[in-house]
Structure formats: C-alpha cells, structure tokens
Amino acid sequence: MEYNQNELLICIASRQMEDRTSAFIGTGIPMLAAALAQKTHAPNLMPVFEFGGTGAQLEDLPLGVGGSRTFYRALAASSICDVMEAAQRGLIMYGFVGGAQIDPYGNLNSTVIGDHALPKVRFPGSGGANDIGSLIWRTIAIMKHGITKFVEKVDFITTPGYLTGPGAREAAGLPPGTGPYRVVSDLALMGFDEQTKRMTLLALNPGVTVEQVKENTGFELIIPDTVDTNPPPTDKELTLLREKIDPTGLYI
C-alpha cells in the first residue's frame, strides 16, 4: 500500500517501543505511535499523559495531553505532580519529544529562534519536553529532516539531550543513565554513539540514500559501515492507522 510521510513516521516510532512498559506521550504523532503499538506488537504498552491519565485504552485519538481521552478507560486518573514524580523516581521508560531544531547531541529547541528577549520566532516553550528529556530513561525525538532543523548548534536548549557530550548530563545534575535514545525522521532512524554521544545513522527509510540524509543534516552525522533499511509500513499497520486510530485524518 502507498503511504505518506506522517504514516511512515508513526509506524517507525511505534516500532521503537517494547511491550509491557511505559511511554510518556505528547500531542500528535506520539499518540498515534502509541495507539498503533498497543494494537500491534505492544498490547500492554502503558501510555502516560502529563496531566495524570495513565494506562488509557486509546480508542479515540486525544487532541491534547490533558483531554478526557487521555484517561478513557484508564487505570488511573491522577495529576501532573503524580506523573512527573513517577518519572523522577525512575518509573517511566520511554518518552517522546520534538522541536524546531535538534543538534548532534540530541538537544532540542522548542522555545525561540534568535534572541530570547526579542526573538525572531517564538515557539510554545518547553511544556513537558524538558521534564521528559531530563527524567525519562529513553527519549525518542520525532523530527522532519532538513538542514534548518538538524543543526550544529540549536538557538536555545529547551530540552536536554547529551548537552555537550559524554558525561555532560551527569555533570549538570541530571539523573545518570537517561538521555536520547532514538531520532525518528521522515528520512531515517538514528541513535547515539556510545562513546561520543553524537547522533549516528541506524537505518534508512525505504527509498532513501545515505547521501540524501547527509544533504539534509546540518552537522556531521556518524555513518556506520552497515546501515539497515527500515521495512515500509505494513498493510496491517496502515489499515489500523486509517480505519481505527485516525479515521477522520486529523494527523495522517
């Protein structure tokens, strides 16, 4: 079946999560990815929403992180402090983040382009992103690829990645063992090099070349000797997305 870029992003993001674990979910593509994971390989993936909805059955797509659909048939409906404190205690495994810019260490900007006091462009601000980037064990960034988005240095670090490199998170006071895990883009799947903490190419999306990824990345991406190719979205995934998860086409 044919598919569009959003459908591809959702499917690849969905496959990064394991069953029987927790995922901190933000508005948009992460919601669809979690819903798809629940309906395919991870029926016991527990979505956690920042205002207190935990373990919801994602029947209808939530339109925001505080909406009633985030706790529809959920196992708990508590509060923002409860959820954020669970994250701070080390209870939440996956979390999704995004932004206008990302750098080689996975630092993200969703605050401003230009000077903070008089910005060229103002974005919404951190929201829960900084909390996710600080506290969650494995963060997954979802980004559209492009040289203005994958940049050597972000204008503003809203959400911490590996900051300036190995050991920097710990030196700043962030909990050890946390940090960026994957970057899912419309062109490729990326991870982070163990030693240098810099972004590294893991797998190309169908039909994409290494050259294309390089051309669209504003910094030097680590290219390993072998690069996998992500299998395209399956008919099953696409059917679930279109017929069950987002039948009105809000996001896809």
Binding site: L63, S79, V112, N130, F156
Partner: protein, 323 residues
C-alpha cells in the same frame, strides 16, 4: 548550601512564607458561609490590577474560561501569570492585560502555535521566564507546602534553566546537584471544577491536573463549577473533596464554564468555535474583533452562552464520552 548556578530570569513573585501565613490567619475563614456569586462579582472583588494569577487546567480542558473572559471584560491590568495555558492565558495576553509570564507552554496543541504569544513575544511587549511543565506545578506544590523552594531534577543544563529564576545547588546530604524551584505563592488562583457546594467544597471528575496544588498555593481562590450541589452530597463522599471550603473565596455557578474547551463527562470541545478563535488570532485586528464579539459585547457568561446557542451546547453535551 552552595549555589552553583543561578537562572537569569527575574523572580516575579518572591516566596512570601510568613506574609502569607499572616494573610491566611487574617483573611481565610473556616466558617460555613455561602460564597456563591456571579463571575462579575468574584472578579471585581478578588482580582486586582498588578495581581499574580494562576489558572488551571489547560486551555481547552476543564478551564475556567468564564472567569478568564470576565477578567478580560473588566480589563484588569498589569497582570502577571503562571502560564501553563492555552486559550485562557491567550485571551488575557490578546487583551493586553499581561506584563509578565512564567511560561511553560503556550500553544494550541493540535492547532499549532499561538499567534497571540508570537506577536507579544516578538514585539518584546511581554516579559517571559521559561520553565518546564513539571516545574510550574512543583513551584505551586512548594507554595502549597508553605516552604520557599522545592529541589527537583529537571531543567538543569539547559537554556530553559538560564531563562528561569531557578537555582542549582549542591545537595547538603548527597553532594549531588539539584535544581531549586522558588515557590509561587499566588495572589489569585482560578479553577473550574465539576461540582461544588455553596461553601466551596469541590469535586473534580477525571484527572485533577494541578488543581490540588494551585488551590493551596493561592491567597484568594475563585472556583467556578459546572454544578452546585447540596452539602449533603459532599458529606456522603468526603474523600471526593479535592478542594475544601476554607481555601475558597468565591463559588461561581458556571455551566459550560470551560467552553469552548471540553469538560470531562459533561461536554466535548466546541471544535467549530475553537477553529474560529484560532483563525481570528492570526491577526491583531481579527483577534480584537473576536474579543469584542465574544467578551465585551456579552455582559455575562449567560449572555455568552446565549450567543453560542442552545443547539450548539446540546450538541457538545451529546458528544461527551461516558465511562
């Protein structure tokens, strides 16, 4: 405790532990007396120019929109706000009433960026401090505890920290770095709840966001409720009282008080109205037209609801999800 690093943002509202204690002793009452009043009277009596105010929950969900509209109607000026908001904070900024904002997120979620915030920030009219979502909630928690700060493990190492008023210190017990968040002891808190009695005992169905903390962080507290219920109902389920009467100064009966946002188990969001607003917000002129039509041209919440229309209200009521 050694301060390792300080955020560069101005601390808009320094914690005032002892002053607030005195204030509570002076102004809060444990007497069971009716606090029922209109939006107009609640805002007139308890919201003042230059106040630091906080709203809950989140713009399009269980949000005290009828009170926010009343603040715009009465044009309370030079406000400082804790900005964990969408439309309620947006209309205050759009009306030119906000000078300073402790911001975590201002956007329209599915609908994207806030044009109102964009214009205000890009023209330098609004003084902005940055925080994370948990940080704003924890700052209220610190205030609710009656202590000046709370140590947490977010924001460190980022520009979000640099543009906040937080501090990083070395923990006196472990030697590890922690981020200290200053308590936000609010002048006025505003919360929309599912049900309240006339004294202000409040029940919330579904997630409680940061209502618990915000109620306890506020000097003055205005509560609006979808339904006013008899105290006997409160007494039957006392464990459901998230906000007890002695914290509350005003109780406003506000059916559809969260419109055009949703109210869990009561009504779904008014998608058509939200898209009107998002469209109007794109330019300064059409934003002002929206405020004129939906706020200044309506004398009260009741008039606003009349303008929305019974058919629309019935329809969003029918779309609410059950359990």
């Amino acid at each position: 405790m050694e301060v390792v690093e300080s955020g560069q943002g101005e601390l808009f509202l320094p914690p005032r532990m002892n002053e607030d204690r005195e204030w509570m002793r002076e102004h809060k009452s444990w007497a069971l007396e009716s606090k029922l009043m209109s939006e107009h009277d609640a805002v007139k009596k308890y919201v003042h120019d230059n106040d630091y105010i906080g709203t809950e929950l989140y713009g399009f969900v269980r949000c005290p929109m009828s009170i926010a509209r009343e603040i715009v109607r009465q044009k309370k000026k030079h406000l400082q706000v804790a900005g964990q908001g969408i439309m309620e904070v947006d209309i205050l900024i759009a009306a030119g009433l906000v000078d300073k904002i402790d911001l975590t997120y201002l956007g329209y979620e599915v609908y994207g960026l806030s044009s109102v915030l964009r214009r205000a920030a890009q023209s330098g009219k609004l003084q902005i401090n940055e925080w994370s979502n948990a940080a704003l909630a924890w700052r209220l928690k610190a205030a609710a505890l009656g202590v000046p700060f709370l140590p947490v493990r977010v924001m460190m190492g980022t520009d979000t920290f640099t543009h906040s008023a937080a501090k990083v210190v070395k923990c006196p017990f472990t030697g590890e770095k922690v981020c200290l968040l200053p308590a936000t002891m609010l002048d006025v808190g505003i919360i929309h709840v599912s049900r309240a009695d006339k004294y202000g005992n409040c029940q919330i169905d579904g997630i409680s966001g940061f209502a618990f903390e915000l109620a306890r962080a506020s000097r003055r507290l205005i509560v609006s409720a979808e339904e006013i219920i008899p105290t006997e109902e409160i007494r039957k389920y006392p464990e459901k009282t998230l906000i007890p009467w002695y914290l509350v100064d005003a109780v406003v009966e506000a059916p559809f008080g969260s419109h055009p946002g949703e109210m869990p188990f009561y009504y779904w969001r008014d998608e058509e109205h939200l898209s009107w607003y998002v469209k109007a917000s794109k330019s300064e002129e059409t934003t002002q037209e929206y405020l004129q039509k939906w706020i200044w041209d309506c004398d009260s919440h009741t008039e606003y609801l009349d303008r929305v229309g019974k058919d629309k209200l019935d329809s969003i009521k029918g779309m609410a999800k059950g359990r």
